[in-house]
């Protein structure tokens, strides 16, 4: 007797209606029911953070949520970060600083950083502070240095650009206000 629910959610500003089993994780709903395969599963117990998305603007490990919990919510996945073909400042920084190698953990780090940078307001974080946030997720390829550099550089550039310049056009969650 499977408990199924019809849920409605917005993913990257697009409306979806889908019927899913109660036990289906948000990660699996996004990946397989809705086709957003950019969100990846690295552990399914909330440690590696590869599955990180934004739910109603806040970072969430989608392996630790059920799809039904996101009924009525706004979800941002990695597919929603760029503006068409234009990479966001954060995505560009990842490439500039070699913050990815195999790419599997990358979406989770992007969403983690996106959430963190969105909360930063005026403060320019130190390397140690950024390193502590980057320590939320696991990467096996890069040794993390490029990730720390990319997030630091983005924070710096946004601060230099002033309150109106935070994030690039069309990147959700980039506004610290």
């Amino acid at each position: 007797m499977t408990d199924r629910h019809t849920i409605r959610l917005r993913v990257n500003d697009r409306e979806h209606t889908v019927t899913v089993e109660a036990r289906r994780t948000l990660a699996d709903v996004l990946r397989h029911d809705l086709g957003y395969t950019g969100t990846h599963l690295g552990c399914e117990h909330g440690i590696c953070g590869a599955c990180t998305v934004l739910v109603d603007g806040a970072p969430a490990r989608s392996c630790l949520m059920f799809g039904v919990q996101a009924d009525g919510s706004d979800v941002t996945t990695v597919e929603g970060l760029a503006d068409g073909e234009q990479l966001s400042d954060l995505q560009q920084a990842f490439s500039d600083h070699h913050a990815l190698q195999c790419g599997f953990c990358t979406p989770g780090f992007l969403l983690l950083a996106q959430a963190y940078l969105g909360e930063l307001s005026d403060a320019e974080p130190s390397e140690a502070e950024v390193r502590e946030v980057v320590a939320s997720n696991l990467c096996r390829c890069t040794g993390y240095q490029g990730l720390v550099d990319a997030v630091l550089a983005t924070a710096k550039a946004r601060r230099a650009a002033g309150p109106d310049g935070a994030g690039s056009p069309g990147s959700p969650g980039g506004d610290p206000g």
């Binding site: 117990h45 909330g46 490990r61 630790l64």
Partner: protein
Amino acid sequence: MKPAQFSYHRAGDVAEALTLLERYDGEAKLLAGGQSLVAMMNFRLARPAALIDITRIGGLSYLRASPDGLRIGALTPHRAVETTRDPAVLDGFGVLPRSARWIGHYPIRVRGTFGGSIAHADAASEWCLLAVLLDARILLRGPDGERTVPATEFFLGLYETAADPGEMITEIWFPRPARHAALTEFAQRQGDFAIVAAAVSTQVTDGTCDAVRVVLGGVGTRPLLLDTEELAGAPAGPATWQAAGELAAAAIDPPSDGHASGDYRKRLAATLVTRALAQSAMGATGA
């Protein structure tokens, strides 16, 4: 690692949550932040017949400081405690925001809730330790009404509390401030559960300790409040902190496991208690 089947219900208010709990007669679990519960369900270590999602219940997320003490709503995220700038909270209860940083990582603190930690009752959990340290009261609501359980009587064993299956935590109340309190812990990696954690508070008058309170985590199946009678009247200073550390190590018989031998846990207890006391003596800012 996919969870077993369950029925999902979303409760609109506390009454609805209680009704559902009663209906499932102990076979349902409340779903708040889910940071511990859902992981266990993915492993199929937890297999509740039903989940009652309480995350949309309004009015249960708050931090209210008053002459009455500090009241924290059960659904308050860790992150809200961590980032509060309310001077009334920081003044008397600053140990709580300062300790939030030890809880997992930033995204976990965004979703995980204060009440969730208390209900989960991990023996090394920061909020459980601080609840015992600061003599907090757990407010429960059940089919028969409300009741209050002192934190010192709430944690019964590993993941085991005094809450009845049909009850829900609604608030954690810290009746008295603790301006000289600190929590410190040790784990091999940032964000891991503590191998050993120490929460301490001191009451000092004119350079003498009226009282020293020490709670240890990770040395048994629940937070351990030590008998520190013998420290009353001792001078507030490094020698006493050192003695407290030694007292702590002598008072415990911690288990050995893959991460740490029992003997190493004793060393950690001694070190962490000593350092926490030194920090707590520095005052409310912890600087």
